[in-house]
């Protein structure tokens, strides 16, 4: 498929994934337009992280196709896949910082290892990106273990934007943070996304975060997208599953599975 302005940035068509007998994704269809900020909500174990990992090629879908800028990502291998991955940045749930490297090398990792940039120049860019997320140059030489959870998230965000990606994935960006720090991270995400004009796909079950960082919300339940619409319309979705989830009610059509 040739890439045009109307070509979706990411498109999932009938994506299926199962682990043993457990069906995690049961034919997902999802389209993410250029510049859009989509948040996928859903309970724990509903397949949100699996969706993201399938797009990135960390997991291989059992069926279905995934297109990135019109290119079938499920068929890309080797160098072509690495080139496709250069379009992405990702903030992991636990930040996933490399504990053997100082902060600046974590931020500059993709530039040095992935793009072969000279270390001194990569370090300058890393310090510049750290400043964008509100961290001073004195943090650059610290080890990730010396940072608080909130600071680790900021470093993770700096790493995600270091190579100026076209698409950023946020995996549970506010999990494990206190409400104030969570809001600081949400604000950072919103301002960064606005400045860079990127397309974002986030997954979360924190509704305050979802409302703040998204232009659209999709809800994943039992391996299927059961609702997909503008963020402003989620309170009037008319979907009992969505209503139960966004209001955090124990009673409703969603029954919590005790075993994964």
């Amino acid at each position: 498929m040739a890439e045009t302005e109307d070509t979706p940035k990411i498109e999932l068509r009938g994506v299926k994934k199962r682990f043993g007998s457990k069906v995690v994704l049961d034919g997902i269809d999802l389209t993410l337009s250029r510049g859009q900020s989509l948040v996928i909500i859903g309970g724990s174990g509903s397949g949100k992280s699996v969706t993201i990992k399938c797009v990135l090629g960390i997991l291989t879908p059992d069926d279905g196709r995934i297109f990135v800028d019109g290119q079938d990502a499920t068929r890309l291998r080797g160098r072509a896949r690495e080139a496709m991955l250069r379009k992405f940045g990702m903030l992991f749930q636990g930040s996933a910082l490399f504990d053997s490297l100082p902060v600046w090398e974590n931020v500059a990792f993709g530039l040095i290892q992935g793009r072969g940039m000279e270390r001194r120049r990569a370090r300058d860019i890393a310090i510049e990106k750290l400043a964008k997320v509100g961290l001073g140059p004195e943090v650059a030489t610290l080890s990730p273990a010396e940072l608080s959870g909130g600071m680790q998230k900021r470093v993770g965000l700096a790493r995600a934007i270091a190579a100026d990606p076209e698409i950023i994935f946020f995996d549970e960006p506010t999990t494990g943070l206190d409400p104030i720090m969570a809001d600081v991270i949400n604000d950072l995400i919103v301002s960064t996304v606005k400045d860079m004009g990127v397309t974002t796909l986030s997954i979360t079950h924190d509704m305050a975060s979802a409302r703040k960082i998204s232009s659209r919300i999709a809800m994943l339940y039992k391996g299927k997208i059961i609702w997909n619409g503008p963020t402003a319309e989620i309170d009037s979705s008319g979907n009992p599953y969505v209503d139960q989830f966004i209001h955090g009610r124990a009673d409703g059509p969603i029954k919590m599975e005790v075993r994964s």
Binding site: L56, L85, G94, A96, F98, G110
Partner: protein
Amino acid sequence: MNIFAAIGRVFLAFLAQTGRLTLFMIDSVTSIVRPPVYWTLIGEQMLKIGYFSLPVVGLTAFFTGGALALQIFVGSDRFGAESFVPNIVVLGITRELGPVIAGLMVAGRVAAAIAAEIGTMRVTEQIDALTTLSTNPTKYLVVPRLVAAVVTLPVLVLVADAIGVFGGYVVATRSLDFNGSIYVKNTIDFVTNQDIWSGVIKMGVFGFIIALMGCYNGFHSKGGAQGVGNATTNAVVSSFILILASNYFLTSVLFLR
């Protein structure tokens, strides 16, 4: 419970595991020749795997050589063959005990460390992060460890051989009243190039096994701390078994031609 079904399940699981390991090995070996090559990481791993294993391997080799000299002396004393102590010590150390003892010690130290490090990276999503940063985890994590182990362990066994023979020399000259210069002459006269090379080849193979099992188990660890613990145990146990099994086959190939 159907016993045949249980046996079948275990057998199928074994085949699946063997298949996964084989694919992992092929991917790792072919990645060695595909750029980019992380020379700095290879150098770092050479230090960690080879150089930092020197003390433990050296000490083990020294005491093994000493114990071997004592045992051979006591055993050969029954039929008046005590003079063969230096010959049998050097043969035993270079052909078998040097590489096997060094291999097992390095497996305990290095395979466990590799599995724990990579396993922790797996469960904290650091390996997934490598992928999102356009870095192939196999090339970045496995290849440097594999190359470093295969290159440095043969050198390590040469050192272990020398220290092991020295251990035998110390015991023989201090406790068993051997003449030092005659002991050394007998050792040098008796040892052949093949004895030394066989140990070097064995240790190259053991190095490959140790790094491969450490990386494989680390890469496939699941869950949290318990998963990493299991990966570490599996890496050490499987390395031990494969080292001892391959040692038998290598001895057959190298000496029974």
